[in-house]
């Protein structure tokens, strides 16, 4: 299986907005349409379609945090895998590829991610990739950071 990240374009954005989550997952993440709309105003935001063997399976967006006055740091603000494709390890591989893209920019020291503190699966996934928990923010999200 070959995983790829592709830029969001006129051709694939419609399919990306059709990706679905399970009911209980929907509250945790902005809709893909929202993310793509938001990114259109911020060159610092990089939305990507996640493709497995050419088939669209998910969406992620990473952000240059110079936007928030933290140069040299990036954040992965969105990561979702369509409900039909969850549990196949695509989330982990896609995140690794996003980290590779971020590293390739050069000069990046830290990558931030956040998740629900009671989400054991996210916690384990990010911990296994080297993210270290820092604090729970005012939205109740756990922040974790990876030092590059």
């Amino acid at each position: 299986m070959e995983l790829q990240l592709k830029a969001v374009t006129r051709q694939n954005f419609d399919d990306i907005t059709d990706l679905r989550l399970l009911d209980h997952q929907r509250d945790y993440i902005a809709s893909n349409a929202y993310s793509i709309a938001q990114a259109s105003f911020y060159p610092e935001m990089q939305p990507r379609g996640i493709y497995a063997d050419g088939e669209l399976v998910g969406f992620l967006m990473y952000v240059d945090l110079k936007l928030e006055g933290q140069p040299g740091e990036f954040g992965v603000w969105r990561l979702m895998v369509d409900l039909l494709h969850q549990g196949k390890g695509y989330g982990r591989k896609a995140l690794q590829m996003a980290l590779a893209e971020i590293r390739a920019r050069g000069g990046v020291r830290k990558v931030w991610i956040s998740y629900q503190p009671d989400n054991a699966r996210d916690k384990e996934l990010y911990a296994s990739m080297g993210f270290v928990e820092t604090d729970v923010d005012e939205d109740g999200e756990m922040n974790a950071v990876l030092e590059l």
């Binding site: 374009t9 006129r10 809709s31 349409a33 793509i36 709309a37 938001q38 259109s40 105003f41």
Partner: protein, 162 residues
């Protein structure tokens, strides 16, 4: 227009603004009534879609205090009939409905579209059972053309030939 709307119109202003990073968040927070929810997702979809189509123009509907709604109009693309424009995705936040903003916004959009100079027709569409949209567009001189296979009623506005 109902009498109270005629009254409201004297002191409620409606403007159309280009969408920027400054008012984007306000647009994302616009709310609709439960039975209108199908339209809510379409605002973010429209802004996303417009970012890939330079002929799509998104506008915030605003009163003097801030954003109250959204609409988008499309200029003809390469595959469209020349002169065919369209208004899509009109919505007014549930807290600001019934004050004439929708109608004012469509009138402003019609005026803005006509500045393009080559306008032959301006299309819109709505659910055939959407009485509010039907009345609003009829009041703005749209004429119903019929229900298409997508189940939507299409209505068209044409410039005064004189």
């Amino acid at each position: 227009m109902r009498p109270y709307q005629r009254f409201l119109r004297k002191w409620i202003t409606t403007n159309l603004h280009v969408i920027t990073k400054e008012n984007f968040t306000d647009i994302a927070e616009l709310e609709l009534h439960e039975h209108q929810q199908d339209h809510a997702a379409s605002t973010m979809y429209a802004i996303a879609e417009a970012s890939f189509h330079p002929n799509y123009h998104c506008r915030a509907i605003a009163d003097k205090d801030g954003v109250v709604g959204f609409l988008m109009y499309a200029a003809p693309g390469a595959d469209d009939e020349p002169g065919d424009y369209a208004i899509y995705h009109l919505m007014v936040d549930r807290r600001f409905q019934g004050r004439g903003h929708g109608r004012r916004a469509v009138e402003l959009a019609l005026a803005e579209i006509q500045k393009h100079g080559d306008v032959q027709r301006i299309w819109t569409s709505y659910g055939p059972d959407n009485a509010v949209a039907k009345e609003l567009y009829a009041a703005c001189s749209f004429i119903e053309a019929g229900v298409e296979e997508d189940g939507e009623m299409y209505a068209v506005w044409s410039p005064d030939p004189y």
